[in-house]
Assembly symmetry: C2
Homo-oligomer: 206 residues x 2
């Protein structure tokens, strides 16, 4: 392996190399909490020195923040709804991607949620930003308000629905990993997809 | 004041005195986070020595845990639904008491929510217990499942609804205290009360 990857690495420009290290950091987060993601671990997994890592990421906190930022960007990209079609089907597709993302990045995602409350300011800010982007998407993807009218009432409801979705996906993921999930992935998706139209007021009611 | 309260205090049996101190701790939590609730502060507010406080509460952590436990008991007691009548009206009354409790204990409650994720194990356990009691009540108050059938699907939904309710009450409370609430207390109650029947499956659908 070393003879194959080492030359490739050395030819990468610094930004590409940094990006590659961030991807590795995100992959490590799938099975580790944010606190467990250390510079030592990444250096070992990447087969490079700690000093070189510090060259790319100023310090331990900047490194963790950069990995969380990358994970957040991945989440936002992967959950982009398909370009056209029935609003409920687009929401279902986006939520399916969200459920799969959370499952694939479970340890890190759960530690981010916990950290979002008790963790560092920077990580909390990224978490809030992601929530904001995902919630805002409900309205920007429906500019004419045909599915969900952009009203103060519905904005509050969408915020509550986001919390509900997060809670259910985490609960279901925890149960599933412990072999005690009581509903299937499709049933979970049906619940969280159907919850939004069940909660918002129809456009006519403003 | 001193001449009135001092003799009263000295006549109180230790358990009653401890209970009185816990009530004071809960009142202090209304305008302070859990981290700000120190033994020094309580001693000052109660007009007694730190040493005496440590006599009642072994150490700083035991003291905070006891105050949170008391606050949790208060919340559970105050949100007990009225004994009979229409299920939705009983739910509305219980949620109205919950909203008022959160508003009256805002700083402490929000810090408990944040602490529930990042805080001490003991405080997190109390938070989880309260959530469990409040959720379980949905089913125990409706033993025949006439309003909400006790199914795995509905248990998952109630868990999500709890997260939605918590998020909306905290968001609304924060906005209200900042003078930028976009809906009234009654509208908020309408949203969170109506959300539950909108989300669960009717008893016939199991």
């Amino acid at each position: 392996m070393g003879t194959v990857t080492a030359p490739t690495r050395s030819r990468l420009p610094p930004e590409a190399r940094r990006s590659q290290l961030l991807d590795l950091g995100v992959r490590l987060l799938a099975t580790r909490s944010l606190d467990e993601l250390s510079v030592d671990l990444l250096a070992e997994e990447a087969g490079i020195s700690r000093g070189l890592l510090y060259h790319y990421f100023g310090n331990k906190h900047d490194f963790r923040e950069a990995v969380v930022r990358r994970a957040a960007d991945d989440l936002i990209a992967q959950t982009a709804p398909p370009p056209g079609g029935d609003p409920l089907e687009r929401l279902h597709a986006s939520l399916a991607a969200y459920v799969d993302y959370v499952l694939a990045n479970f340890e890190g995602y759960v530690s981010l949620l916990k950290g979002s409350a008790g963790g560092s300011e920077a990580v909390r800010a990224i978490y809030e930003e992601v929530r904001g982007v995902l919630s805002e998407r409900i309205f920007t993807e429906d500019p004419d308000g045909e599915f969900i009218a952009d009203t103060p009432h519905n904005r509050l409801v969408v915020r509550g629905w986001s919390a509900l979705t997060e809670e259910l996906v985490i609960t279901w993921g925890t149960d599933r990993r412990a072999g005690r999930a009581t509903v299937t992935r499709e049933e979970l998706l049906e619940v969280i997809t159907g919850a939004l139209p069940a909660l918002v007021r129809p456009p006519s009611a403003g």
